[in-house]
Subunit: 442 residues, 2 copies
Amino acid sequence: MKTINVAIVGYGVVGNGVAKILEEKRELIRKKSNVDINLKKVFTRNWNKKFPYEIDKSKRVNSIDDILNDEDIDIIVEVVGGIEFPYKLMMEAINKNKNIVTANKALLAEKGKEIFKEAEKKNIRIGFEAAVAGGIPIIKALREGLIANNINKIYGILNGTTNYILTSMYKEGKDFKTALSEAQKEGYAEADPTLDINGTDAAHKIAILSSLAFGGYVDFSKIYKEGIENIDILDIELGKELGYILKLLAIGKAHGEEVEIRVNPTFLPANHPLSKVDGVFNAVMVEGDSVGETMFYGKGAGSLPTASAVVSDIVDIAKSISLNIGREIEITSLNWQHKDLNLTKVKDFFTRYYVRFTVPDITGILAKVATIFAKYNISIAAVIQKEKVLQKYQKNDEKIVPLVILTHTASENSIQKAIKEIEENNLTREKTVLIRVEDEDR
Amino acid sequence: MKTINVAIVGYGVVGNGVAKILEEKRELIRKKSNVDINLKKVFTRNWNKKFPYEIDKSKRVNSIDDILNDEDIDIIVEVVGGIEFPYKLMMEAINKNKNIVTANKALLAEKGKEIFKEAEKKNIRIGFEAAVAGGIPIIKALREGLIANNINKIYGILNGTTNYILTSMYKEGKDFKTALSEAQKEGYAEADPTLDINGTDAAHKIAILSSLAFGGYVDFSKIYKEGIENIDILDIELGKELGYILKLLAIGKAHGEEVEIRVNPTFLPANHPLSKVDGVFNAVMVEGDSVGETMFYGKGAGSLPTASAVVSDIVDIAKSISLNIGREIEITSLNWQHKDLNLTKVKDFFTRYYVRFTVPDITGILAKVATIFAKYNISIAAVIQKEKVLQKYQKNDEKIVPLVILTHTASENSIQKAIKEIEENNLTREKTVLIRVEDEDR
Ligand SMILES: NC(=O)c1ccc[n+]([C@@H]2O[C@H](COP(=O)([O-])OP(=O)(O)OC[C@H]3O[C@@H](n4cnc5c(N)ncnc54)[C@H](OP(=O)(O)O)[C@@H]3O)[C@@H](O)[C@H]2O)c1
Ligand SMILES: NC(=O)c1ccc[n+]([C@@H]2O[C@H](COP(=O)([O-])OP(=O)(O)OC[C@H]3O[C@@H](n4cnc5c(N)ncnc54)[C@H](OP(=O)(O)O)[C@@H]3O)[C@@H](O)[C@H]2O)c1
């Protein structure tokens, strides 16, 4: 049995988990996979602290070159995070003929094109199962398990922090700020949670999934994204009355030659499988033309769940090294058809909408709003008109109430125009709230 | 690019789906996997009928030897069903150095040991993704995606027919017979549904999953199984009051050197991820020591979903053939540690129980029942004592009512003894109903 040598770069949350699994499960992995994996070296910038998993001093190195120049090292695990340092590291590693396993979705979403191009030239494999949805083997499912499918749609809950916050808003009626600060206290949100909250993290992940699902490179900078920072608990409650649950969904849908990719707060029917995904759990729904609907559910983050995915990549690559095969065995990389995907423009999104107008409580408002919707050919599925006075918007003696319209499928363009016209006609008193709805027309 | 030749044996529901995918998606598969797969021959016993996917006459053969003796054929797809014929076929195929892909769970559960032994000798691969949970790539997840895990527990809804029936009993209050005959009308239950209804089909599947998860061969004949044929709608309703949903679960749990494997109707908390799996859908929950809880959900049967799994196996094997590697790349077969798993005896099951006694409505019954439970050290978590008179059990002027006891975790042995003693003390009027509960003690 051949021994494959691995080095870890970055010794934080994920790095510690990977080291622990590789050392404690060396025998289990040998039994299951017929390869022997030896953790040879670990690099981080500061060894002067305590680690959750203490690695033997003999394996600690203080220079990245100690790894890059070690000819025995077959696989480098990049779990540093960030962009510049790991980008440079990967390019060097590829040029030294080292295979790579990474959990870095930001890097792959933003620089994946260059990295995979280089890797292809050198016949180098890059494993990135851990970059999306932590321990859930969704990358493998897309590349291998569902290979017989054209994927029509892939969507899911890809960020645990925001799902934790939305779950506590929904279940406990907390407002966004309270829910966020509690999530931070519990360790489910970082001190600076910006990239989670504003949808960037989920956008990185759906960029990667869409590349695999639809067969081309996604220009991350063009992905439409909206975070949860402005979600009003009022809309969660009104949505509940319509049978909906609010989730931050990352969505990729094929429309002929175009792909609609977006991250936005989304209303889902309460009986949708993704609606039951609570707290920090992640789940990805894949619709394939052969298999139909499938869902993959599990922990999207955390030391050992993420390391579980990293190690599965290490084993896959180790097997191909020990069998002397290169990346031929790798089905698809991020640019597998060597083309760029065309992203659907926002104005061409085509979905259902929840629109909440903040209107004065006077007769005739609904008629006026409905008339403008009709003008833009937007068909209305349901209306909630409430007695409920919105105290916080009260300015003079005009009573302010919410008016919610749930539409059938419509184009974003028409909706935006209708809202604009309604606002310009002075029918509303606050900015209109628009939330996309993932539900079939009935 | 090498062309790999495939033959299909058996041209029914699954066979038609496989042919359709292989022919219509040849180009897609080539792009994604770098192998070219050619469907060369199809064998079935009767070509004189219409098929959902008509295969070209030139590919139809009338003798299995036409396939076995064709040196160009690399992979045989067995989708005949049954035991004897496919067993003989596989043994011959192995000896002719042909790799095999099968959807036949019955065969693998009952004869897998012999088949895999032979396959190992000859360095032949056997793909069986389609044998469990149809299109859901759960076999690959266990073998590869979750390789860094010791699996503690694997359980799920593995039979669509029974799940369809239980869903309509739960949601529409139908009794078993009505629900079954409707399922038959809708095409969700076969004319002879015995093997689905009595748990045999789910037992075949959990035998296969447990082999992979726990690393040893499972003697199928020793698996404890109970079907849904005797489920009374009354228990579904009483369970609902306790917050439970009834599912036919197939369960494998590791207890040190033993594995508890069973198929039985099971109460699950309504908020458990498996409780939301309705109708013909399947789902498998896997608990790994690194990854935590993961769930895989999708269609467990049907022509194209099942074929999707068959084709993913074909592609995997085709890749290894084209790279000139044998089964070394295959992580685990059904007997991967070449040992037999020790199954926990029924009397040693250790779980929570729902017990419904049918008792006369007189004072003191609960006290007596509770006393006997206490004697056997069974701790009671909840009681439902109902005014509701069970007309159908009424014989004289004694009023008959249900008395439900939900226990904390207890051994099957104690429960059985307690029930026996209660029945022997003439406290009950009908056979006591016992349903195992998959829920944490609180
Ligand atoms: N945490 C998760 O659950 C999770 C899940 C999925 C994916 N990921 C991804 O995995 C990667 C690592 O995440 P993490 O949570 O493990 O991060 P982390 O806990 O912050 O660990 C990063 C490690 O890299 C070291 N490091 C940072 N910059 C360095 C540099 N320039 N030179 C040398 N060492 C450097 C850090 O050292 P110091 O301790 O000295 O700062 C630390 O040891 C990220 O790409 C992240 O997106 C994480
Ligand atoms: N159907 C599903 O959704 C599903 C899902 C997962 C797994 N599976 C498994 O897949 C296998 C096939 O199932 P299926 O639903 O496709 O069965 P099916 O529709 O009954 O097809 C079986 C095919 O094999 C032929 N056949 C049967 N015995 C034969 C013999 N002795 N010699 C030659 N041909 C013979 C049949 O011919 P005739 O038409 O002349 O009888 C028919 O073409 C089974 O092991 C099943 O458990 C099925």
